[in-house]
């Protein structure tokens, strides 16, 4: 028997597999397909203070081994998330959930986190300082160490729950930003969010996405994600949640070897709704194949 249990800031997960924010809604669509309580946890759709429709459509473009989205943080706003979505979510998922939060000012981040802090279902606050889709929003916080630290501090001040800062890969120096968040009190780092990308339609000769650019993710970005997880995990002393292109049990292990304590899975859910279940079921076999008895033994193993 192998051990797949891992711990994030005192919260023990049955396994490190966590559907990533924005690709798993609030869980219901997937709960129709399988018992989502097998998941380590899941990160629900990015929540903002105000309700948002998001960006105009088309919001989706296909890429070799990946996709671009410019959903733009569509969500009903934190009040409705708490009053309508969380009670429904509670019916299908009984473990601590990860609340993904975005904002357009430090006050908004604090406001939204303060409200979510009171929700017993929420185990971890995952603060997205990285969404590349919002013109005057997340992007700027995540590309500057000082701004990322300021968000971290503001959020830490209003919650006792563990705060994980989710970083954008669209930066020159990911390590300096991660370290600034750690110094500002972050309990963990989650990375990577999507990379800024674009596709152009040869027929219309215009960008496929209405918003021109969007967030590129899927297995194509995996090598960049592994690299950044490795660099950040090497530089900080707080847990790292790794993501970006993960789509197999092997990928989960590779992310953990790079330094991730848990692993999120995004775009892969959209093309194979059973992917997280399949990975969880496959993990013990792959662990045995590579002589891994306990996943905790391999976290950051590639650095040794």
């Amino acid at each position: 028997m192998v051990n797949t249990k891992v711990t994030l800031s005192g919260i023990t997960l049955d396994n490190p597999v966590i559907p990533a924010s924005g690709t798993f809604g609030y869980g219901y669509e997937f709960a129709e397909l399988y018992d989502i309580n097998i998941l380590g946890s899941f990160s629900f759709k990015g929540t903002t203070k105000e309700p948002r429709f998001g960006n105009p459509t088309p919001r989706i473009a296909e890429c070799p081994n990946g996709m671009i989205n410019s959903v733009g943080l569509q969500n009903p706003g934190v009040e409705k998330v708490i009053s309508e979505e969380l009670p429904k979510l509670a019916k299908c998922f009984h473990k601590p959930v990860i609340a993904n939060v975005s904002g357009f000012s430090i006050e908004e981040y604090a406001y939204t986190c303060a409200l979510l802090d009171k929700e017993p279902q929420v185990g971890i606050l995952e603060v997205n300082v990285s969404c590349p889709n919002v013109h005057h929003g997340g992007m700027s916080f995540g590309t500057d160490p000082a701004a990322a630290a300021a968000v971290t501090k503001a959020v830490k001040a209003v919650t006792t729950k563990p705060v994980y800062i989710k970083l954008t890969p669209n930066v020159t120096d990911i390590v300096s930003i991660a370290k600034a968040c750690e110094e500002a009190g972050a309990d963990g780092i989650a990375l990577i969010n999507t990379m800024m990308g674009m596709r152009i339609d040869l027929k219309t000769k215009k960008p496929v996405i209405a918003n021109k650019m969007g967030g590129f993710s899927g297995s194509a970005i995996f090598p960049v994600a592994v690299r950044m997880v490795y660099q950040v995990a090497e530089a900080v002393n707080i847990p790292v949640i790794g993501m970006g292109g993960v789509s197999s049990a092997e990928d989960v292990i590779e992310m953990m070897l790079a330094g991730a304590t848990a692993v999120e899975i995004g775009a892969a859910n959209l093309v194979n709704p059973f992917i997280c279940k399949e990975i969880i079921e496959d993990l013990p076999r792959v662990m045995e194949k590579y002589n891994i008895k306990d996943l905790n033994d391999i976290i950051g193993g590639a650095r040794k």
């Binding site: 798993f24 669509e29 459509t57 088309p58 296909e62 070799p64 093309v271």
Partner: protein, 244 residues
């Protein structure tokens, strides 16, 4: 929704660019005309959404137009190639509100879902009038199949090579006493129909999709009844809710 493996039984050209594929597999998740399936193709990241044209307990028929690399790849496939398909996606058409003489209007690759819809309405004892719009004679497909169902079929071609010269709206204007309408086709056609029709109706929309089953918010639109996901809350919307 169900994920299952289908086996291609046949795959043939109906016109220069439109193909008909019949697949064997588990169709139990399909509950209404106007629903769609989402097809995984090797070498492509996203699935391809295609309307259900017809189905029975263990076969599914789809009609698709070759417009890009994915549909091109589909057109090359032969029996008994296997495909991973998500079935039972979308709301589909509600036939309970059709009245006795509904209009069914399909434009181009909006024609396929009208076929099962016509079948269902006829089975319910109603008298659908089918209007099919194409650019030209050579692009016409499935007109005979609709006739075989016993439906009244009108054809409009942009160049007048068959039927009424003009658009489906030109035909709609000549039919005085329909009770409701159902349509699927390019968005400008849907808009024109919404303007020209005198009854309520249901319109099926297309949008680029991430998941096709409601998880990603990739296909959202704003309606008078709130935000909707084309893939889950649609693709069929009622005339009254649409914000053009």
């Amino acid at each position: 929704m169900k994920q299952s493996i289908f086996t291609i039984q046949s795959n043939e050209k109906l016109t220069e660019s439109v193909c008909k594929m019949v697949l064997a597999g588990d169709t139990s998740a399909i509950t209404a005309a106007g629903q769609f399936v989402n097809i995984q193709l090797k070498g492509f990241f996203l699935r391809r959404p295609i309307s259900v044209c017809d189905y029975d307990e263990n076969t599914l028929t789809i009609l698709y137009k070759v417009v890009g690399k994915g549909t091109e790849a589909m057109s090359q496939m032969k029996a008994p190639h296997k495909l991973d398909i998500l079935t039972g996606l979308g709301n589909g058409y509600d036939t309970s509100v059709s009245g006795g003489k509904p209009l069914l209007i399909g434009g181009g690759v909006g024609v396929p879902p009208m076929y099962r819809l016509a079948k269902n309405l006829i089975a319910e004892g109603k008298h659908p009038i089918v209007i099919l719009g194409f650019n030209t004679k050579d692009e016409i497909f499935y007109a005979e199949e609709f006739e075989k169902l016993g439906a009244e079929v009108h054809i409009a071609t942009a160049d007048g090579s068959v039927g009424v010269k003009g658009f489906v709206t030109d035909v709609v204007k000549t039919i005085p006493d329909y009770t409701y309408f159902y349509t699927c086709g390019p968005e400008p056609m849907l808009k024109a129909l919404s303007d020209v029709t005198t009854t309520s109706g249901q319109l099926s929309f297309e949008e680029r999709m991430g998941c096709g089953f409601g998880a990603c918010m990739g296909c959202s639109c704003q309606t008078k009844y709130g935000n909707k996901r084309i893939c889950k809350d649609g693709p069929v919307l009622v005339k009254e809710e649409i914000i053009w």
